[in-house]
Symmetry: C2
Subunit: 444 residues, 2 copies
């Protein structure tokens, strides 16, 4: 049985073979991928140091085949790049490549039971829902797929919308052996993941991210949740998917603003831990903005490798993982204070990154050249470099007070420190520097 | 800072010393405590066999001092009985005894951070909130306690009420280093636990159960969650507390119906895995109903030992743990179909147990003598032995279809099989027997 509010019949014929051969190539570290590992100095002050051999050993990349610059073929399935997130018995692969939604076996090997619920939104459903249902059911007649189509946008990432997922799952009488599939951007992935974590106290879960933001960041690492009107992502769970399937073809339909928003997170990886990746981005930003497939594929892969390594080392954010939130504390304040959905997440993060960089410079922790390079690369990505004019110092302080990185009343921030590609996660900074940055970027 | 809607000042002077000495006695298996361990035969058909030595080895009981029949003393703190729930790095103690809320150290050793949120209800708050706040803050001036007082009853175990907990936590600017304390019965424990699991993706959590039901069952084992209007506990998480503190003095204020409701779960442990405990209950039920302190203390301890052992062996209910749900599938249907809060949980479980026993007898799996003994003991506990008259076969079937124990469309049930104290968790039964039981207990 297949039901959805979009179409009476989602079972389409596939244009290519549903049975594929997966080729796992040995891992070769690309020259441009310079990995780095962090060492904890104290819970409140975390320095990132160069330690590439250790990092290489921990990061399990099963295949590094270049895939995006190959044309899809009806007879030869494309070999996906696979980045493995190493979490013991909760490890899972990230498949990256063009045309992966035309390889049903990739998805089907991760489906548990006979019932699937696809959670998607009104923007993505008309474009990709049929394709995903086909991939789930092709050659697999025992599987039935339900779908729930949510309104699109960060402002709907709340309990009311989440309840629609539970309603659909319960009305459809799904049981513990079902699988939830998130098809969409970060909002869909976060909500579907939290629903999967909570439905019957936990069911199987697959991520199919369709935005750069979700492909490089939010779909990887198991952070799920919803917003509260007083703050972002305050209610949720750490809950890992069975796999993440990144079909880079889905980016063809991505609006320009969404592309830039995702690149804000790509830039983040370079700034906090991967200087060579940042330098590659500086050279390649025009190609990325022009959606050059191989440039985008490399940016996604390298970002996923960085994220997978950090998550493997610190799944529940006791320290290192917090560094992935560079710019996010300021950014969340913008999203919450300015209204969810006014700015895209990556746009708020971009402005927040500029503020974090300004504060790092104010503390004397980085050279002016880094400040300039950050401005420059964000401008190339057509991202904002200051918060909305309506944001006040008080709005920032009020939202930042409920940030998840506050501990025993002390706000810890991710700030750059040292040469490009190094950061700290610390509550040990001069409060004046924070005030100065807030006043520098707010009119009142 | 201490705030609550009950009183401007929760800091009371304690009547006894706040510093206590804990004496851990070596474990001695009481003659009357005959433990049993289960072996999995198949996911769908699970038989419980005698294997007491193995069980003794796994069950870590640190102290078995008789505590209830001692009078509280101002100078000599009572030594709590401790039952350990053995879950690796998520192991925790259940403290059982009289006057434990007058021993601040017991609670305080499990508090993380400086901020505590007590979640309780309108019935319990006037009686015990001050006492708990005192226990949390006595000699501990750096700790501040917030409280949220929810309406009392199963019908409020829903998302709207849960949001009040999040609202309070966020408005109070609690951070990840805070501790949630559940003070109340099963509804409060389940909701507070799920809130703790979800707030900032997980914070520290302590259970202080104040009903027999919560003390012997719901506060132990980490099942948390809320109801959906279509079924019980369909949304939640497995989330273990740091400790469970059972102050048996709280039972002095428990209404008679609540006492009986809790005893339904005590009876369950005997039926599914502990025949000697059941026989002890048959002899002791008049004393339990008369609230004899030592009888109640033993019933609570033995129940917690049974539950701790089952949870240690199968935390996430892949098989064995499901047997703790004897009578619950029918019982949940009564609670959902008849309206949450019309019957207490244990009352519905009692009627459900009679139905499960009837079906087991119909299948030829147990002797008639067991059927009679179950009726008899439930009647002694003043519990119902049949569902409400308004329940129909269709109402049962409709709710049972969304039960969490349905797998790939097949409803699995816990049924008695063999001598007293043995059960199976199985989907391998004659459907006619289920129909016959439903028709025997419903008018239409």
């Amino acid at each position: 049985m297949v039901s959805s509010s979009l179409s009476p019949n989602h079972i389409l014929s596939l244009s290519k073979s549903a049975t594929t051969t997966d080729v796992f190539l040995p891992f070769r570290t690309p020259d441009s991928a310079f990995l780095r590992r962090s060492s904890l100095s104290s819970p409140l002050n975390l320095k990132l140091n160069y330690c590439s051999n250790l990092a290489r050993r921990r990061l399990r990349v099963s295949a590094t085949a270049q895939v995006i610059d190959q044309s899809p073929s009806k007879t030869t399935p494309i070999v996906p790049t696979i980045v493995e997130v190493d979490l013991g018995n909760r490890s899972y692969p990230i498949y990256i490549g063009s045309g992966l939604l035309d390889q049903p076996d990739l998805l089907q090997r991760h489906v548990h039971g006979k019932r699937v619920l696809v959670v998607t939104n009104t923007t993505i459903a008309p474009i990709y829902l049929d394709k995903v249902v086909s991939a789930l059911t092709h050659g697999n007649p025992n599987v039935s797929v339900e779908s729930v189509i949510l309104p699109d946008g960060e402002k709907y990432k709340n309990m009311d919308t989440l309840m629609k997922v539970f309603d659909k799952a319960i009305e459809s009488r799904l049981d513990r052996r079902c699988t939830f599939v998130a098809l969409g951007g970060g909002v869909i992935g976060d909500m579907c993941g939290y629903a999967a974590a909570s439905f019957l106290r936990g069911v199987n879960f697959i991520q199919i991210p369709t935005t750069v933001m979700a492909q490089v960041d939010s779909s990887v690492g198991g952070k799920t949740g919803i917003n509260h009107h007083l703050g972002k992502n305050l209610i949720g769970a750490f809950y890992q998917p069975q796999c993440v399937l990144v079909d880079t073809d889905t980016l063809y339909t991505l609006p320009d603003r969404e592309l830039g928003s995702g690149l804000a997170e790509v830039i983040k990886y370079g700034l906090i831990r991967d200087a060579e990746f940042f330098e590659w981005q500086e050279r390649t930003m025009p190609a990325l903005m022009a959606r050059d497939p191989s440039a985008l594929a490399y940016a996604i892969k390298r970002s996923c490798e960085n994220k997978a390594e950090v998550v493997s080392l610190d799944e529940r954010e006791s320290g290192l993982r917090a560094t992935l939130n560079l710019g996010h504390t300021f950014g969340h304040a913008i999203e919450t204070g300015y209204g969810y959905g006014q700015w895209l997440h990556g746009e708020a993060v971009a402005a927040g990154t500029v503020m974090a960089v300004d504060m790092s410079y104010g503390l004397g922790w980085i050279d002016e050249s880094i400040v300039k390079r950050v401005h420059n690369i964000l401008q190339q990505a057509k991202l904002p470099t200051s918060p909305p004019e309506t944001m006040t110092v008080e709005m920032f302080k009020s939202v930042m007070a409920v940030d998840k990185k506050v501990a025993d009343g002390l706000l810890r921030l991710i700030l750059l420190k040292g040469p490009l590609g190094n950061c700290v996660f610390t509550g040990d900074y001069d409060r004046k520097a924070l005030d100065e940055t807030l006043h520098a970027f707010c009119k009142s």
